[in-house]
């Protein structure tokens, strides 16, 4: 049962990672054309998410097939999971800063990341024995808050508009729900809830993929008409 859970989770993470890298590449390609700071933020953030998801998915694949008895080396699993959490944190911080700069102008972001690092590492270092749960819950909570900011900002910008922009907003909303589920699953120790989180996250990335495919057709359609 646990192996099947790891395998299903791994498949969803790998697929989500591929979509995240696709979004990153699209933003990177347009950034070469536009030289836009905001696109750099999007490209960098999705690249971190994609790399993190692929690494985490690969790790879970190895565990589910019991390759190299990786589960016996708890340190590897622990370090990999912490790195994945940190990548997520940096990625969503990047989106938050990018959104803020794009919508409200410049923000003194030089103070934001050190503050987050302080919260996670300095604060949690007081009790090293609880580091694992502490780090996971803290990072998930911060990611949920950052995503809530992104979704709220998206709602303000988009208003009641529907269509393509709703796909991006919907994507981020689903990813927000997914992280909330993962946070709850780690608190109540519920593997099915964790898998549910991965499933909802995958749906969020699918929404972003649908958006990329649709926005890529816009220029061609309007040119042909």
């Amino acid at each position: 049962m646990v192996d099947e859970l790891y395998l299903a989770n791994a498949a969803l993470e790998l697929a989500s990672g591929v979509v995240a890298l696709l979004v990153s590449y699209t933003a990177f390609r347009y950034n070469r054309l536009l030289r836009s700071e905001i696109l750099s933020f999007l490209s960098f953030g999705f690249m971190l998410l994609g790399v993190g998801l692929l690494a985490e998915g690969s790790l879970h694949s190895l565990i589910s097939f019991n390759i190299g008895q990786i589960l016996e080396d708890r340190a590897v699993v622990y370090v990999a999971s912490v790195i994945y959490l940190i990548l997520q944190l940096i990625a969503y911080s990047t989106f938050t800063i990018g959104y803020y700069r794009g919508s409200f102008g410049r923000v003194r972001e030089e103070g934001v990341l050190p503050a987050l690092v302080f919260i996670i590492f300095v604060h949690t270092a007081r009790n090293p024995l609880l580091l694992g749960t502490y780090v996971n819950a803290t990072v998930q909570l911060i990611v949920v808050l950052l995503l809530a900011f992104i979704v709220f900002q998206g709602l303000l910008v988009h208003g009641g508009s529907t269509g393509r922009s709703a796909l991006v907003l919907g994507g981020f909303l689903l990813i927000l729900i997914a992280h909330a589920l993962v946070l709850v699953s780690s608190l109540v120790i519920s593997p099915p809830l964790y898998l549910g989180g991965a499933l909802v996250q995958f749906a969020g990335f699918l929404s972003l993929l649908a958006y990329i495919l649709r926005s890529g057709r816009v220029g061609a359609t309007s040119t042909n008409t």
Partner: protein
């Protein structure tokens, strides 16, 4: 909520000029001037840049001068439209 008004980026100005030339077909500078909302000096400078980059072609006849968009210019316009559509989804603009 209205976003703060920002100055047009160089890409946005290129986009506006190329769009007006494409819609006009053979566009005289005065028509482009009217549609791109630029001063004459700035328009002349941007038109020269676009011709140098191969995005516009300048055609001179006996008593007139007009611009047409090149294939490279059309491809550029298409890419910028896609990029603009991509940005819009994230609530951002060029």
């Amino acid at each position: 909520m209205a976003q703060p008004q920002r100055t047009r980026s160089r890409i946005k100005i290129y986009f506006d000029i190329l769009s007006s030339v494409k819609e006009e077909g053979n566009a005289k500078p005065t028509r482009v001037l009217y549609r791109s909302n630029l001063s004459y000096d700035r328009l002349t400078r941007y038109l020269d840049e676009l011709v140098t980059k191969g995005l516009l072609a300048e055609v001179r006849s006996e008593d007139s001068r007009y611009y047409t968009i090149t294939e490279k210019g059309s491809e550029f316009l298409l890419e910028v439209k896609k990029a603009e559509a991509f940005l819009k989804g994230f609530g951002l603009s060029l």
